[in-house]
C-alpha cells in the first residue's frame, strides 16, 4: 500500500469515524430520552390503577351477587316459613328470576329431592358467564330445606382483568428495565453505525484504491519515461480528472516521442550532410586533373599507330563521360550538404500549390526526351486560404521532388499514356495536408520504412537524397511525411503541417 493510499484511507476513516462516532455520542442521550418519554412512571401508575379498578369491580360484582343471593334466599325462606304450597313457591321463584337478572337458577331442595325450582331459559346469544352457587340452609318444624341460588357474572370481566394485568406487568418490566432497554437501543444503534462505518470505509477504500492505483501507475510510467522509455501508453477509460491527467500524460509522451524521432532524424540527416560535403570535396578535387590528363594524353599523342590513337580517343570519351557523371553526383551531394535550414514565415499553402501547378509542364518536358510526358497531372486546393508557417522555397523543393518522382514512376510504367498523378492540399481540423498520389506501380511495402533514409533508393540512377531532403524539410516545418498505398494502386505521399490558429 502506497503512502498516498494510506493517507487517503486515513482521511476517509477519520471522516467516517468522526461523523458516525459523533452521531452515536450525541444520539445516545436522545435515545434514552425518547425511551423515557414512552415509558414513564405516570403511565405505569395509571396502568396499575386500571388493573386495581378492574379488580375492585370484580370484588364489587361478587359482593353484589352475594347480596342478590341473600335477598333471593330471604324471600324464599319467608315463603317457606309461611307454608307456601310448592306451586306458590315456584311462582315466587319465577318472580325472583325476573327481578334479578344476575340469577340463573333457584332451587329449593329437601335432601335429594327438588322441592321447587326455577331456571332461566338459556339465551343462545348471551355472552359467556361465570356462575357460582350460593347456598342457604332453612330448617322449619316439618322440613329441612336448602336454597341454592346460582348467580352469574360475565366472563369478560375476568378476561379483561387478566389482559390489563398482563399489559401492566410488561409495562412495569419495561419501567424496571428502563436503563438496560435504552442501552439496548443505544447498542443496536451503535452496532448499526459501526456496520455503516465499516461499509463506508470499505467503499471509500475501494474507491480510493481505484484512484490511487491509477496515480501509482502514472507515477511508475513517469519514472519509465524519465528513464528514457517513450513507448509508454496508459489506458484511459473513465471521464474524471485522473483520466484527463492520464490523457495529458499520454499526449506528452507522444509529443516527446515524436520530437525525439524528429530530432534523431534531423541529427542523422545532419551527419549525412557532413558526410556528403566531405565526399563531394574529396571527389570533386581530382576530377579536373583526371579530365585534363585524359585530354592531354589524347591531344599530345604524335605517333602513327591509328589503332592506339583510336583507343586513346575511346578512353578519353569514357573518362569524360564518367567524370561528368561524377560531377553531377558531386553536385547533388554538395547541394544536399548545403541544404539550408527552413526559415519559416506565415504563408498560404494554396499559393504554393498553385506555383507548383505552374511548373508541371516544365517537369513533364524535362522527364521525357520526346516532348511532354503523357501523364495527366491534376492539382487541387481548398477554396479558403490555409495558412501555415513555412519556407516556401524549401517546401516547394520537397513537394516538387515527390511530384517529380510520381510522374517519373507513372511515365515509366505507362509511357504511352494512361498515367495519372494527383496533387492536392486540404485541411482537417488544425492540420493541413499535401497529398501526392498516382496510379503507377507503387512502392513495395517493405521499402516504406527506409524510403526516407539518405542514400536509400530503388532507382538505378537515383542518389537516394530526394526523399531524405523531403523529410528533412517537412520535419523542420514541424510536420510529418508518410507513405502508403494510393486508392488508385500507386504510391501516396502525405505531408502533414500544423495550421496556424487563424486558419
Amino acid at each position: 500500500m502506497s503512502r498516498f493510499e494510506r493517507k487517503i484511507l486515513f482521511a476517509i476513516g477519520l471522516t467516517v469515524f468522526l461523523t458516525l462516532g459523533g452521531s452515536i455520542f450525541f444520539a445516545q442521550g436522545a435515545l434514552r430520552e425518547v425511551y423515557q418519554v414512552g415509558v414513564n412512571e405516570q403511565f405505569g401508575q395509571e396502568l396499575v390503577h386500571g388493573v386495581e379498578a378492574r379488580r375492585d369491580q370484580l370484588i364489587a360484582l361478587r359482593a353484589g351477587s352475594e347480596h342478590v343471593a341473600d335477598a333471593v334466599g330471604s324471600a324464599v325462606e319467608a315463603a317457606v316459613i309461611d307454608k307456601a304450597s310448592p306451586r306458590a313457591l315456584e311462582a315466587l321463584l319465577g318472580e325472583l328470576l325476573a327481578r334479578y337478572p344476575g340469577v340463573r337458577s333457584i332451587r329449593v331442595v329437601e335432601g335429594d329431592r327438588v322441592y321447587a325450582t326455577a331456571i332461566r331459559e338459556p339465551d343462545p346469544n348471551a355472552e359467556v358467564m361465570r356462575a357460582t352457587l350460593r347456598k342457604r340452609e332453612i330448617t322449619t318444624r316439618a322440613k329441612n330445606l336448602r336454597i341454592e341460588v346460582e348467580v352469574v357474572v360475565p366472563e369478560v370481566h375476568f378476561q379483561r382483568l387478566q389482559e390489563a394485568g398482563a399489559v401492566a406487568d410488561v409495562y412495569s418490566r419495561l419501567q424496571r428495565e428502563s436503563a438496560s432497554v435504552s442501552d439496548v437501543y443505544v447498542w443496536v444503534f451503535g452496532v448499526l453505525v459501526f456496520f455503516v462505518i465499516v461499509v463506508a470505509f470499505l467503499i471509500g477504500a475501494i474507491a480510493s484504491r481505484r484512484v490511487t492505483r491509477r496515480v501509482t501507475v502514472l507515477a511508475e510510467a513517469t519514472r519509465r519515461v524519465g528513464a528514457g522509455d517513450l513507448t509508454v501508453t496508459l489506458p484511459t477509460g473513465s471521464t474524471d480528472e485522473v483520466t484527463e491527467l492520464t490523457q495529458a500524460f499520454n499526449d506528452m509522451v507522444r509529443d516527446l516521442r515524436d520530437s525525439r524521432t524528429r530530432i534523431e532524424y534531423l541529427q542523422r540527416i545532419s551527419a549525412w550532410q557532413d558526410f556528403a560535403r566531405r565526399l563531394a570535396h574529396e571527389i570533386k578535387n581530382p576530377l579536373t586533373p583526371i579530365q585534363l590528363a585524359a585530354q592531354e594524353l589524347d591531344e599530345t599523342y604524335s605517333g602513327e599507330d591509328d589503332g592506339y590513337r583510336e583507343k586513346l580517343e575511346h578512353a578519353r570519351a569514357i573518362i569524360e563521360e564518367e567524370v561528368a557523371t561524377l560531377r553531377r553526383l558531386v553536385g547533388e551531394f554538395s547541394a544536399f550538404a548545403k541544404l539550408p535550414r527552413a526559415d519559416l514565415s506565415p504563408a498560404d499553402l494554396c499559393e504554393l500549390i498553385q506555383s507548383i501547378q505552374d511548373s508541371v509542364p516544365a517537369i513533364l518536358e524535362d522527364i521525357s526526351e520526346d516532348g511532354p510526358a503523357p501523364v495527366e497531372v491534376r492539382v487541387s486546393c481548398a477554396t479558403k486560404p490555409m495558412h501555415v508557417r513555412m519556407d516556401p522555397m524549401m517546401l516547394r523543393r520537397g513537394v516538387d521532388n515527390i511530384l517529380r518522382n510520381a510522374i517519373q514512376a507513372v511515365y515509366a510504367a505507362k509511357p504511352t499514356g494512361g498515367g495519372h498523378v494527383l496533387l492536392r492540399a486540404y485541411s482537417i481540423e488544425k492540420t493541413a495536408f499535401i497529398e501526392v498520389r498516382d496510379n503507377g506501380p507503387g512502392i513495395p511495402q517493405g521499402d516504406w520504412e527506409r524510403i526516407f533514409d539518405p542514400y536509400y533508393t530503388t532507382k538505378a540512377e537515383g542518389t537516394g537524397l530526394g526523399l531524405a531532403i523531403v523529410k528533412k524539410v517537412v520535419l523542420e516545418h514541424g510536420g510529418e511525411v508518410d507513405l502508403d498505398r494510393a486508392p488508385e494502386g500507386g504510391a501516396r505521399f502525405r505531408i502533414e503541417l500544423p495550421l496556424m490558429d487563424s486558419s
Binding site: V51, R55, L58, I59, A166, V170, L192
Partner: protein, 197 residues
C-alpha cells in the same frame, strides 16, 4: 480457525462450570424401570414478593425445568419442563391452578405452591436416554422461575412497529429477551448419582 475453536472450547468450559457450580440441594432420585424419578422442593422461589404477586388475582406463571447432565460436564442428557398458571380467584375463594389443560381449585396459596413447586416422583426422560450412561455419574439441575412471560404472549405484547426496516424486529427481539425473562429464579442441583447398570 484456531481462534474460533478456542472460543468454542472456552464457551463449553464456561457452561460446564456454570452447571457444576450451582448450589447443591436435596434432589432425591429413584430409578424406576431404567428412568429416574426425581423429587425436590423449589418452594423457596415463593418469597414474600412472589407470594404477594400470587395473591393479586392476576394470572402468574411458575415454571420448573429439570435437566439431567453428565457428571462434571455441561452436556445435557435430557430436559423436562412444566408450567403452572396460578390465579387467585376473586369470584370464589381459593386458587385456580392450571397445569397443561387441567385446572384444579386449591383452597390456599400454600397448597397451590405445594402443587407447583414441590415435585414428587417426576419422570425426567425415557429410559433409552440413559442407556449410554449406564454406570456413569450424572446429576440433575433444577431451575424454578416465577412469571416468565411466555414467548407467544411476549410476541403479542412487544411487537415491532410494522415498518419495513430490518432493524426494528432485531431490536424488539433483544428487548423481548430482557423484558420477558422471569422475575425471580431459583437454580440448584442435586448430588451426583450413578445411572444403574
Amino acid at each position: 480457525m484456531k481462534y474460533w475453536l478456542a472460543a468454542l472450547v472456552w464457551l463449553m468450559a464456561e457452561s460446564a462450570s456454570a452447571q457444576s457450580g450451582l448450589p447443591l440441594r436435596d434432589v432425591r432420585v429413584v430409578w424406576s424401570r431404567g428412568a429416574p424419578k426425581v423429587s425436590f422442593s423449589a418452594k423457596d422461589l415463593a418469597d414474600e414478593r412472589v407470594r404477594k404477586e400470587l395473591q393479586s388475582a392476576l394470572r402468574k406463571r411458575l415454571v420448573v425445568t429439570v435437566a439431567a447432565h453428565v457428571g462434571g460436564s455441561a452436556r445435557t442428557i435430557v430436559r423436562r419442563q412444566f408450567g403452572c398458571d396460578v390465579t387467585h380467584d376473586l369470584w370464589e375463594d381459593g386458587y385456580l391452578v392450571r397445569i397443561g389443560n387441567r385446572t384444579e381449585r386449591l383452597p390456599t396459596l400454600e397448597k397451590a405452591l405445594d402443587r407447583c413447586l414441590v415435585v414428587k416422583g417426576l419422570f425426567v426422560g425415557e429410559p433409552n436416554r440413559y442407556e449410554s450412561y449406564k454406570g456413569e455419574e450424572i446429576f440433575f439441575s433444577v431451575e424454578a422461575e416465577f412469571n416468565p412471560i411466555s414467548e407467544k404472549q411476549c410476541r403479542e405484547l412487544i411487537r415491532p412497529s410494522g415498518n419495513s426496516d430490518a432493524v426494528g424486529p432485531i431490536t424488539v427481539s433483544i428487548v423481548r429477551r430482557r423484558i420477558c425473562k422471569a422475575e425471580r429464579k431459583v437454580l440448584f442441583r442435586g448430588k451426583n448419582v450413578k445411572v444403574p447398570q
